[in-house]
């Protein structure tokens, strides 16, 4: 089974500060995704990547940047954090063939609080 890890697991940031959330996967999946989870909204896609060096905008990219420096690592960057970005963030990975394109494996999540 895919192993996806995230760091930090919890983060408290100040408004206007820079926040970097990191994700690592060890199963050589091509696709990686960043979601945020909010009650009543479900899981919303922020950014995704098809492989090292690529990043694509998801449904709610405003205020976020992403970086995919390698197959294993995918970061989410909040340059100027705002309280509205307080949420739980999940990273996921998935293979790029057959059913694997759609079956996503999620990391444990990062709880971010912006004060």
């Amino acid at each position: 089974e895919a192993a996806v890890t995230q760091s930090p697991r919890n983060k408290v940031a100040v408004t206007g500060g820079k926040v970097t959330l990191s994700c690592n996967q060890t199963n050589n999946h091509n696709n990686m995704y960043w979601y945020r989870q909010d009650t009543g909204h479900g899981l919303r896609l922020i950014h995704y990547s098809y492989g090292a060096g690529s990043t694509e905008k998801g449904d709610i990219p405003d205020g976020y940047k992403a970086s995919r420096p390698s197959q294993e690592n995918f970061s989410l960057i909040l340059e100027l954090a705002t309280p509205s970005q307080t949420s739980v963030y999940f990273c996921a990975s998935g293979d790029a063939s057959g059913w694997g394109v759609y079956e996503q494996y999620f990391g444990p999540g990062t709880r971010l609080t912006v004060l």
Partner: protein, 113 residues
């Protein structure tokens, strides 16, 4: 655009009663892939069921669902709820040819003794 609708935000059941969580979808594509993900408390979402075949029942871990393209539905069912079924359930679709999943807003299922 493409979307997934889960009409119930909260469902509370007594142990032993049947479970049915509703899921409908909208898509311009004729061959969507439909999924149910489950998320237990303090855990991450994981895949529970998946289907792309019209009118074929798919089953896993006591749950089942049938994709009905005529009604754009993929409802999740179980004959007898267990306490351990308490969790957040997401329905999701992957429109044909897309590498993205579109999630519904989720249904929180609570099973009481």
């Amino acid at each position: 655009g493409d979307s997934v609708t889960q009409t119930e935000g909260l469902v509370t059941l007594t142990e032993g009663l049947p479970v049915m969580l509703n899921c409908t979808y909208q898509t311009i594509y004729s061959n969507p892939f439909l999924f149910w993900y489950v998320q237990h408390l303090n855990e991450s979402p994981r895949l529970l069921l998946k289907s792309f075949t019209d009118n074929k029942r798919t089953e896993h871990q006591g749950f089942h669902a049938t994709l009905h393209k005529s009604s754009s539905s993929f409802h999740l069912q179980k004959s007898s709820a267990q306490l351990s079924d308490s969790a957040l359930y997401y329905c999701a679709q992957a429109p044909s040819g897309s590498w993205q999943l579109i999630f519904g807003s989720g249904t929180q299922l609570t099973v009481m003794p």
